[in-house]
């Protein structure tokens, strides 16, 4: 779609929308790094200097980037690496090893991955993946061989650093940090984690070898910054092929952000989480509603998207239950009220349900025991209820103790919205006396 013949070329609206969505989706889904890190300049400089020293001077370092999820730890690291590799001196020297605590779940796998990423396996053919012990000795020997001035510096990036601390004896961490504190091959160990107490996880010897450099990423934007961010994220830049469309779009975004209801919705999101990722999620939902027939985001779209974001998952599931299952849930709620959250079993629930039926004296909901059992099991599968102690299988199914996994508010909310809910059931649910 190279339609850049002239600046004022008018593209068909459909075409524009497609391009718009492509650009914005790329932006919102983190496929593009920002040109410069916002709000974390100091940290960026610190990390860049540190890694530069490793790459250029051959100084070993270790550092942890700590911050809550969505704070931009990986973004920061990627930005730093991008800036670092712009320098040819660093580019030609630096070797990188990327590990993730969720992928390399034990040291054996991690070591194999390191060997693979360092291309050391070529040295000895496939034999390096012999035993774990052999592998460790091999890698340590490799790192020991090098020294500060002659060997290439290696950058170890450990994503989810805290998970590495759960490996047996913390062998990998000890050895990496030990290398970083001794005159061996220069390495930089960069860990990213969201746990603030990560240092307490380290064993004392490992801890002593860690340099205790922590870069905290605790972004604390104000609401106005948050709003600005929304606007910039949605605005189109000047190099959009169709100038007129982009002008219109930007104007519509501006009016959108000035809208009272939109501000309210965004405020609520901001209150809930300052994380930009959740905001991007919201904007994505809005963006997918834009079409050729409706080439702008309207406040109503945002409201609806926000509703979707805040929707209660369990309450939504309740809407899909049958009347019988709903009745069982209500019976459980009453049992919970009566017994103050004590666990119950099928028989109790059934009795409660029977009481309701007797009062109403109609046989509309008169079900056989097996049917009720089946409905009960279905609820268990949906995890509306869960057994108190899953390991005890000896007791008969009817008498297994269960707990309700729903809050009262969720039950009531679901009842309000349940399509064609019988009034007697509704009344039963509202009544205080089961």
């Amino acid at each position: 779609m190279s339609k850049r013949k002239s600046k004022d070329a008018h593209l068909p609206v459909g075409e524009c929308i497609t391009q718009l969505q492509e650009i914005l989706r790329k932006r919102l889904c983190h496929q593009q790094l920002p040109d410069r890190p916002e709000g974390v300049e100091a940290q960026h400089k610190h990390l860049l200097e540190l890694l530069k020293r490793t790459a250029v001077h051959g100084e070993s370092n270790s550092v942890l980037i700590v911050g809550p999820r969505g704070a931009g730890k990986t973004m920061l690291l990627k930005c730093v690496l991008r800036d670092l590799l712009e320098e040819t001196e660093a580019q030609t020297n630096l070797l990188q090893v990327h590990l993730n605590g969720l992928l390399q779940t034990n040291d054996r796998i991690a070591l194999q991955e390191i060997t693979r990423q360092l291309h050391l396996e070529n040295v000895v053919g496939d034999k390096v993946f012999g035993s774990f012990a052999e592998n460790l000795a091999f890698l340590l020997e490799a790192l020991k061989k090098g020294d500060r001035s002659s060997s290439r510096p290696v950058l170890f990036v450990l994503d989810e650093f805290d998970l590495f601390a759960h490996h047996k004896n913390q062998t990998l961490l000890y050895n990496l940090l030990d290398v970083s504190q001794s005159a061996q091959a220069p390495i930089a160990v960069v860990g990213t984690t969201c746990r603030l107490d990560v240092l307490e996880l380290l064993e004392k010897r490992v801890k002593s070898r860690f340099s205790h450099r922590q870069i905290h990423l605790l972004n604390n934007p104000t609401f106005t910054q948050y709003l600005e961010r929304v606007q910039t994220q949605l605005s189109l830049s000047d190099d959009f092929p169709d100038n007129k469309f982009s002008r219109d779009w930007n104007a519509s975004i501006e009016t959108l952000c000035e809208d009272k209801s939109v501000a309210e919705v965004l405020q609520r999101h901001f209150n809930s989480s300052k994380d930009f990722r959740s905001m991007h999620m919201l904007l994505m939902l809005c963006l997918s509603r834009v079409s050729a027939a409706k080439p702008a985001i309207r406040p109503a779209d945002l409201l609806e998207a926000s509703k979707m974001c805040f929707a209660d998952a369990k309450a939504n599931m309740l809407h899909g239950l049958s009347i019988l299952e709903l009745c069982l849930i209500i019976a459980m709620k009453h049992l919970n009220d009566v017994y103050e959250g004590e666990p119950f079993n099928l028989q109790m629930v059934h009795n409660e349900f029977k009481k309701f039926l007797q009062r109403k004296s109609n046989s509309m909901y008169n079900f056989e025991q097996p049917v009720i059992m089946k409905a009960f099991e279905h609820l268990q599968q949906l995890e509306m209820i869960r057994p108190v102690d899953s390991s005890v299988v000896k007791t008969q199914r009817e008498y297994r103790l269960m707990r309700l996994m729903l809050d009262h508010s969720q039950v009531m909310e679901a009842l309000q919205k349940y399509p064609q809910c019988p009034t007697d059931v509704k009344q039963w649910a509202m009544s205080a006396f089961g």
């Binding site: 040295v123 000895v124 034999k127 603030l196 340099s211 300052k274 209660d312 729903l406």
Partner: protein, 906 residues
């Protein structure tokens, strides 16, 4: 009742014949030969001086190789000793030094040992049998014979370097028949004690153009042993007595200190003096000269000339290394001179002819071998004549010890001839002298066969491995193939071999251990520090090795004297070193080892072997055995096998073992349920022959009491040392010494850092890290505004804050409104319940109430759960697994006060 045990067979050792001489002062008798018979078997092996023997060692498959120089015992014949010249097997040379060889060692290769750390006096009862040893020319290839029992000498080894041994012809390497004096030598006086003299320590006689015959004779007959350098030829008699005295004294003191058995100490303190007064090198030179002179006397100047011409590149310095061979060959000639023994007559005859033949036959051999290759062109005029002589000799005496001289047998034919002659020789020997060596294999039928076969197997295995490795090298050279091709080549090389190699399995290739992994080297050189701050930062890095370790002088001294005394005494022991991380335990031990190594290099103390293992650097406690074995011998094996081998190594007597110093770092990780790893590590040093010093390092002072069972703790002993955390003054001193006059810090700033760290942990690493960070901060701030350029208080304060302040409060301050509300709800619920724990459901009720109070729209359960999970991920809250949903229990990970403080502040 009969016991069926698998113990080794009992051997009975007896002196053969009457003592040759008797030393009245020391009450020792010199003997010419020793009979070894196996209990229950009629046959007897005779060990004579000058023969090569195998001595029981720690590795049954590879017994030690040595050459008998002298045999003696005490009056009543209870103690039997032998003075030997050691040879070192390939496996005994440290792996790191083996690289100096520059080629793959032959599995049957041995090295003439010139080090002095080994006691050359051994218990005669540890002698197993004789062995065939051949001397090879340095350039000659190893013969490809199937004879696994034969060993080859090419080089000498003085525990530091390899030196070439000159291709010394036959008599030096004569194996089975005991050599006799050369015909031209007049018979020595019968009264002279035939102490097998490797050399006289006479003054350097290089200048002497013609030998003093009397001295020569005496030297040849081995009268003069360990003579002082000041000894002149004139007063040889007194010198002789003196030397004899000192020799036995020396041996006595050695016996006492090293083995603590037998002869009581006469002058225990003499050891050091003796070592000083008899420098090995000097003696070597004199030996060399002596043999040269002897050769002259024997009218074999030709040989000398030839030898000199043969080795033009290896000129004077190599002379020392050439000597051992001559030493070997001198000793037999000397030993052979005792007359008047009925049993020796036959031998005498035999070796008479042999003596005639041996030098010449070797030459013959060599000429045969080398003439086609045109290598030895610069020959002296007399050479052909000698060759002829040799040929004549060859005709007259068919039992030439040509076996020992395939040094230049590049051609198969030469080898063939030699082996044929050997066979003949053996045959003849068997007929003539039943006691001779050729038959020895048959004698020790029961025990020896086993031993032999196993050792043979081993040899084969080793050889096969090495052979293939050699081939690999060739291959590499040819097509520059990487190590990956090793596997293939090995399998190729294995096929043509005839010998069965059952122990080699294709599944255990040596490739990984042989390969040398390394991080690729950088294309651009590392930049050097540009300014003062960068310089300071480099110096302050933990990895930079300081010139000295300040503040640990006392500990250094203690460890040094402990290890040194153990090395000097040749005993073993354990030491336990404890201290919190970052107090310099490992650094101090390494420093001690560096110093000791230096001392060993300048020969102040006997050489030793330092190996290091780290509990954290292995995957399993039992890997400790594997690593120790690999570092000791270079072998690779499984943990169980390694444990067995080490057990054997440390429990069997091994007279010429170097002391091993083993550093076990992070000892606590070697803990196993049965604690057998720890048990073995501490048990080995207590063995009589182990000569093992174990230094263990761990963090906790009471580790022995806490995790060790009694028998382990008891073996560890009470030699303990604890490294106290550094005080602030010490930390300051450490930084100062590291900075070493680089002025980068203000005085106050340093004091602040050291005081702060000393108060917290006393960890020197922490201290250095903070200082480094402070230099960075200083660098940044000085870029902004002009400042002194020194690291000041403010920079240090900032660094300290960065490292020691907890981020919880900031994290709470930065949290979103809902998150803060949730934390408040948690505290409210805790107060209501009076517990420090609540379920999410309970907290959520509070949360919704708080939302209403704050005028916010109440959150849904899903949203609340998400908030809760986010706080849990940061570990502000401790949560149960999220699959429990609303039922999960919630706890605070921060104190309530902290939360309230953080929430109040804004």
């Amino acid at each position: 009742m009969k016991y069926f045990t698998r113990l080794r067979v009992r051997r009975v050792y007896k002196w053969r014949g009457a003592p040759l001489s008797f030393n009245r002062k020391l009450k020792t008798c010199e003997y010419g030969s020793l009979d070894i018979s196996v209990e229950g078997l009629p046959r007897i092996t005779v060990i004579k001086t000058g023969e090569h023997i195998l001595i029981e060692g720690d590795d049954e498959d590879n017994p030690y190789v040595a050459k008998v120089i002298r045999l003696f015992g005490d009056e009543n014949g209870k103690q039997k000793k032998a003075v030997v010249q050691w040879f070192v097997r390939v496996s005994e040379v440290p792996l790191s030094k083996l690289k100096l060889l520059g080629r793959e060692p032959h599995p049957q290769e041995i090295f003439y040992y010139q080090g002095r750390s080994c006691d050359d006096e051994v218990d005669a009862e540890s002698i197993l049998r004789t062995v065939e040893v051949k001397h090879l020319d340095g350039a000659a290839p190893f013969p490809d014979s199937d004879d696994r029992g034969t060993l080859y000498v090419k080089l000498s080894w003085d525990s530091k370097t390899f030196k070439a041994v000159e291709s010394e012809p036959a008599p030096a390497s004569s194996c089975s028949p005991p050599p006799c004096p050369k015909p031209s030598l007049p018979p020595s006086p019968p009264c002279s004690p035939p102490a097998a003299a490797p050399a006289s320590r006479g003054p350097a006689r290089r200048a002497l153009p013609t030998p003093d015959l009397a001295v020569m004779r005496r030297a040849a007959t081995g009268e003069v042993r360990y003579c002082r350098a000041t000894m002149s030829a004139g007063n040889a008699a007194t010198a002789e007595a003196e030397s004899m005295h000192s020799v036995t004294k020396r041996s006595a003191s050695k016996c006492l200190s090293a083995k603590r058995r037998g002869i009581s100490a006469r002058t225990p303190g003499i050891r050091k003096k003796l070592e000083l007064s008899s420098p090995e090198k000097k003696s070597m030179i004199s030996e060399d000269l002596m043999s040269q002179l002897l050769d002259e006397e024997l009218k074999s100047e030709v040989m000398l000339a030839q030898r000199l011409s043969l080795s033009p590149p290896q000129a004077v310095p190599l002379k020392h290394s050439l000597t051992p061979l001559r030493k070997n060959h001198r000793a037999p000639t000397a030993q052979g001179s005792f007359p008047l023994k009925p049993s020796a007559v036959v031998l005498n005859k035999m070796s008479l002819s042999e003596m005639n033949g041996s030098p010449s036959s070797a030459r013959l051999d060599s000429t045969r071998a080398t003439t086609p290759s045109q290598k030895w062109e610069p020959k002296t005029l007399k050479e052909p004549a000698l060759g002829m002589l040799a040929e004549a000799d060859n005709e007259t005496s068919p039992m030439l010890p040509v076996i020992a001289t395939p040094r230049s047998s590049k051609r198969k034919s030469a080898q063939l001839v030699s082996s044929r002659i050997r066979k003949q020789l053996n045959l003849l020997e068997n007929q003539q002298d039943l006691n001779s060596d050729g038959e020895e294999e048959d004698e020790f039928v029961l025990s020896k066969k086993e031993l032999q076969s196993s050792s043979d197997d081993d040899d084969e295995e080793e050889e096969a491995g090495l052979d293939s490795d050699e081939e690999v090298v060739v291959k590499k050279g040819r097509n520059a193939a990487a190590a990956t091709s090793k596997q293939r080549t090995r399998s190729l090389t294995r096929t043509p071999r005839k010998t069965p190699k059952k122990k080699i399995t294709p599944g255990t290739p040596r490739t990984p251990c042989r390969a040398t992994p390394s991080i690729p080297s950088r294309s651009r050189p590392a930049r050097l520090p540009a300014n003062v701050l960068e310089e300071a930062r480099t110096r302050l890095h933990v990895s930079s090795v300081p010139e000295s370790l300040p503040c640990r002088e006392q500990e250094f001294q203690d460890i040094y004297s402990f290890v040194e005394s153990k090395i000097v005494d040749g005993t073993g022991g354990c030491m336990y070193i404890s201290g919190v991380p970052g107090t310099g335990k490992t650094a101090t031990v390494h420093e001690v080892m560096r110093c000791l190594q230096h001392a060993a290099d300048v020969d102040e103390i006997p050489p030793f072997h330092f190996i290091e293992i780290n509990g954290m650097k292995m995957t399993d406690p039992h890997q400790a055995y594997v690593q120790v074995l690999q570092k000791l011998t270079g072998q690779k094996s499984t943990a169980d096998h390694a444990a067995a081998l080490l057990e054997k190594r440390f429990s069997n007597p091994a007279p010429r073992k170097e002391t091993t110093v083993l550093l076990v770092d992070e000892l606590d990780l070697l803990w196993t349920r049965k604690q057998n790893v720890m048990y073995n590590l501490f048990d080995w040093p207590t063995r009589r022959h182990a000569r093992l010093v174990v230094l263990t390092i761990a963090n906790t002072m009471d580790l022995p009491e806490r995790i060790m069972i009694n028998r382990v703790a008891s073996r560890l002993g009470l030699t303990r040392m604890s490294f106290q955390p550094y005080s602030f003054k010490q930390l300051q001193q450490i930084i100062m010494s590291r900075l070493n006059k680089v002025k980068a810090f203000e005085e106050d700033a340093l004091q602040l850092v050291s005081r702060k760290v000393a108060a917290l942990s006393g960890d020197a690493r922490r201290c250095l890290d903070i200082c480094r960070r402070a230099t960075e901060i200083c660098e940044h701030s000085s870029a902004d505004s002009h400042s002194t350029g020194l690291v000041g208080m403010s920079h240090v304060m900032e660094a300290l804050n960065e490292m020691f302040s907890s981020a919880y409060i900031t994290a709470i301050k930065c949290a979103s409104v809902q998150e803060q509300l949730f934390l408040r709800a948690v505290i409210a619920e805790f107060r209501r319940l009076g517990l420090e724990e609540a379920t999410f459901q309970q907290v959520f009720v509070q949360h919704q109430a708080l939302c209403r109070v704050e005028g916010l729209q109440p959150a849904s359960v899903s949203e609340g759960l998400a908030v809760c999970q986010r706080l849990g991920a940061c570990r502000l809250l401790l949560l149960e697994p999220s699959r429990l949903g609303v039922l999960q229990r919630v706890r605070l990970n921060v104190s309530q006060d902290d939360v309230l403080y953080a929430l109040k502040a804004d």
